[in-house]
């Protein structure tokens, strides 16, 4: 198979590092000793940088995207990306609560907005436009949140709807390789499927850029597909949303599958992390006063939070969440529109991907887990009725092919002409046509690739790292006309002089942070 491509995994940057600081008890479980070619590190839910690269290679993955980089923290993010060996990588630039965008959204000059986004992508070394709870990060700075697409964001005239539509349009105008990458409003909250549907509908008319039919990627969609009015009648609305995606071609998604394990949640959605911290007060595994937590605000740009969380089989809500992720993978007809993620480490560490593969390939594996989970997984979702079993080709599709296409990567996700020589070879030690009856072999085979080859170099053999080269950082620059930029230069300078704690000259990430890079340039329309 071509090397695996992870479209959404929190692997670098300040909130990941905060997660590392918050969870020493998690690292101690999984220490990695140094070898002649590999460095030492610690693993589990928030692995150290070197461990991250090795762990991906072990799964036969050769590409991963850090999905939440506040521009102000871009330097830190790239410092860590630089230290992740073997895999190619990149980062999405957070734009959903950027003051410049919020302020100009009502009287927007389209050229100016496009120029600003292009400038910010370049300054932060980003790959895509990322929106996290659009408008909510800014609202959270005032201790509040947005709950509908039309709530006003703080003292601005912006609303989540305007932010999403504007940035989606700008994204397509700049011909960026990926659509906007969106974490919906109300994420994690019962009944949030309404807002998710409305969000998809909101961008329906926006014309996709060259070479693709989509104009929006909904990330970790599992967390945005909940029914019910509260936790008691909490249920899956995955069929409704999967139905929309089947009917319409403008949305792609990754699932954000949850795994029953001890993990660390982290997101730029600081408001949600605070809500989650409150929820942990009622959970048996947590201290009575709730889980430990971190929360922060990134001036003029974003927020973030970190909370440890244990997904439990016997917790009805967790059981439903587990089923929803699988519902999406099994219900979406065109697999080009969906790929696997755990929203690492939010739903569980990426090292559990092989377990997800086994659930997809074997109904028996799913049924076994269903019988061990709370009955809500059966009663409040449609998972038990889904009989589809993936072939190896379909696993390849949702673990590398779709992600590469969604990311607009021409050299990833296939082994044809023009592909990079990123290759994973698995040995299942079982007949390939009986893997659905042999889900343990699936899990084992994918957990430890027989060979992983990165850019033609053998990096892993029989699950052991044999060499540790560095991959490339992928970033995007849009070739915007100079006069677009001229119009906003003064405004940007003014913004920095007045409000930022850093000067403009020190803001942009310089060349040195991309020692190996693959720069994709686009021609705006």
């Amino acid at each position: 198979m071509p090397g695996g491509v992870d479209i959404h995994a929190h692997i670098a940057g300040p909130k990941v590092n905060s997660g590392r600081l918050l969870r020493p008890e998690d690292h101690i479980i999984d220490p990695l000793k140094k070898t002649a070619v590999a460095r030492s590190g610690t693993g589990r839910s928030v692995p150290s940088t070197y461990y991250t690269g090795y762990a991906y290679a072990r799964l036969g993955y050769t590409f991963a995207m850090e999905p939440a980089m506040p521009p102000l923290e871009a330097r830190h993010t790239h410092e860590e990306l630089m230290d992740i060996p073997i895999i190619d990588k990149g980062a999405y630039t957070l734009l959903g609560s950027n003051w410049f965008v919020l302020e100009r959204i009502s009287e927007m000059n389209k050229d100016e907005m496009a120029a600003f986004v292009a400038w910010l992508l370049k300054a932060s070394g980003g790959y895509s436009i990322k929106l996290v709870n659009p408008g909510g990060e800014e609202t959270w700075a005032w201790g509040k949140n947005v709950h509908t697409l039309d709530d006003l964001v703080g003292s601005f005239k912006a609303t989540p709807r305007k932010i999403i539509k504007t940035l989606a349009a700008v994204n397509e105008r700049l011909s960026l390789p990926q659509t906007i990458h969106l974490h919906t409003n109300n994420l994690g909250i019962p009944g949030n499927h309404d807002v998710t549907l409305e969000t998809m509908n909101a961008v329906k008319g926006i014309k996709p850029g060259k070479g693709r039919k989509t104009n929006m990627h909904l990330t970790h969609i599992q967390f945005s597909s909940y029914g019910g009015k509260g936790w008691n009648d909490f249920c899956s609305e995955a069929p409704e949303i999967a139905h929309y995606i089947n009917k319409n071609d403008h949305v792609s998604c990754d699932v954000g599958q949850i795994i029953f394990t001890n993990t660390t949640t982290m997101t730029a959605d600081g408001a949600w992390e605070w809500t989650l911290r409150g929820i942990t007060e009622h959970l048996a595994w947590s201290p009575r006063s709730g889980s430990k937590w971190m929360n922060t605000q990134v001036e003029l740009e974003s927020s973030s939070g970190v909370v440890p969380y244990i997904f439990r089989r016997k917790n009805p809500v967790n059981a439903v969440q587990w089923a929803i992720g699988l519902e999406f993978l099994l219900m979406i007809k065109d697999l080009n529109k969906v790929n696997i993620s755990t929203d690492h480490p939010n739903g569980g560490p990426f090292t559990f991907y092989p377990t997800i593969f086994s659930w997809l390939m074997s109904k028996e594996a799913r049924d076994r887990m269903l019988s061990r989970t709370d009955k809500a997984a059966k009663e409040k979702t449609s998972l038990a009725e889904l009989t589809r079993e993936f072939s190896l080709a379909e696993i390849a599709q949702v673990s590398r092919v779709s992600a590469s296409k969604i990311l607009g990567l021409k050299n990833k996700g296939h082994l044809g002409i023009g592909a990079d020589a990123d290759i994973a070879i698995y040995d299942f030690k079982a007949p390939l046509n009986e893997l659905n009856k042999n889900y343990k072999a699936v899990e084992k085979g994918f957990a430890k690739a027989a060979y992983t080859i990165k850019d033609g170099e053998l990096v892993l053999k029989d699950g052991e790292i044999v060499s540790s080269p560095f991959g490339r950082t992928f970033r995007v620059e849009a070739n915007i006309p100079e006069d677009w930029t001229l119009q906003i230069r003064d405004a940007i300078e003014d913004r920095f002089r007045k409000h930022y704690t850093v000067s403009l000259a020190n803001y942009a990430v310089q060349k040195e942070y991309f020692p190996n890079e693959e720069l994709i340039t686009t021609e705006p329309r």
Binding site: L22, R23, P24, E25, D26, I28, W285, S286, P287, R288, S289, S291, K292
Partner: protein, 275 residues
């Protein structure tokens, strides 16, 4: 019992460099010949050393299959040796001197006897087994690993001397008995389980406890304001221990958390707390 005697050859040259000796455990010795045991790797700072470079070893030719049958005897100046008996499940370790940090942490069974003092985190996150410390213990005795909100969950620790701060922090099950005194934050975050102190305790015992019981037979110098005096009882039966004669003052707390923790303070030493 198959006995292995490890005698330190000479004192460590630079005592500031810690030695990670988690291989000194019956579980690791099992199924190995003495020659293989001599070659086990311990870390001194960033250097690897074979066990035989530091210790002279004597004992049976082969350790046999069962860790339960293995007894390890350690002598030397061992206060920089960490993680001895970590994760052990069976067997016995006897240490003739004082020992460094993380002694018997994560152990699930077997017994460790220390004839001297222990450093911090002895018995941290243990789930079973027994530790007997004949000297004093450091901080976090029977506590939890850094960051872990779930501490010791079984087993028994006995200290003949005194203990320092945060003894039994985040404990969920098991029993800790201290013949001497304790300093601050005894049984902090205690969730379940029992801590008995025969000597005096300085202050802030039971801070943020949400369950379990703390018994102090000496004087608690200062009580937290978030504990409420409930009643006086004559004697106190303790499961798996026996009955202690009182009378006791019963305090409930910590009111800053939930009010399900109980402190039993010997009345004749603690009347200053109910004035």
């Amino acid at each position: 019992m198959k006995q292995f005697i490890l005698t330190q050859k000479k004192p460590v040259i630079n005592p500031n460099i810690p030695i990670e000796a988690d291989v000194i455990s019956p579980d690791i010795f099992a199924k190995k010949s003495i020659e293989e045991i001599k070659k086990l790797i311990i870390w001194r700072g960033n250097r690897q050393l074979a066990l035989e470079e530091i210790f002279s070893l004597s004992g049976e030719e082969h350790a046999g299959d069962s860790p339960a049958e293995i007894e390890i005897l350690l002598t030397g100046e061992l206060s920089k040796y960490k993680h001895i008996g970590e994760k052990m499940s069976e067997g016995k370790i006897t240490i003739k001197s004082s020992i460094g940090m993380h002694l018997g942490s994560l152990m699930s069974g077997g017994k460790i006897v220390v004839e001297g003092d222990t450093h911090d985190f002895a018995g941290a996150n243990m789930t079973g087994g027994e530790i007997h410390i004949q000297g004093n213990a450091g901080h976090y005795l029977g506590g939890s690993m850094r960051g872990n909100w779930r501490g010791m969950s079984g087993g028994k620790i006995k200290v003949d001397g005194n203990v320092l701060n945060e003894c039994g922090i985040w404990m969920r099950k098991g029993i800790i008995e201290i013949a001497g005194s304790a300093t601050m934050f005894l049984g902090m975050h205690l969730h379940r389980g029992t801590i008995i102190v025969h000597g005096d305790v300085i202050e802030r015992a039971g801070a943020e406890m949400t369950g379990g019981e703390i018994i102090i037979l000496g004087k608690l110098h200062k009580n937290l304001p978030s504990f409420e005096f409930k009643e006086t009882i004559d004697e106190l039966p303790i499961e798996g221990y026996g009955t202690i004669k009182g009378p006791f003052l019963v305090f409930v707390g910590d009111y800053a958390e939930r009010k399900q923790g109980k402190m039993f303070l010997l009345k004749k030493k603690n009347e200053h707390l109910i004035d």
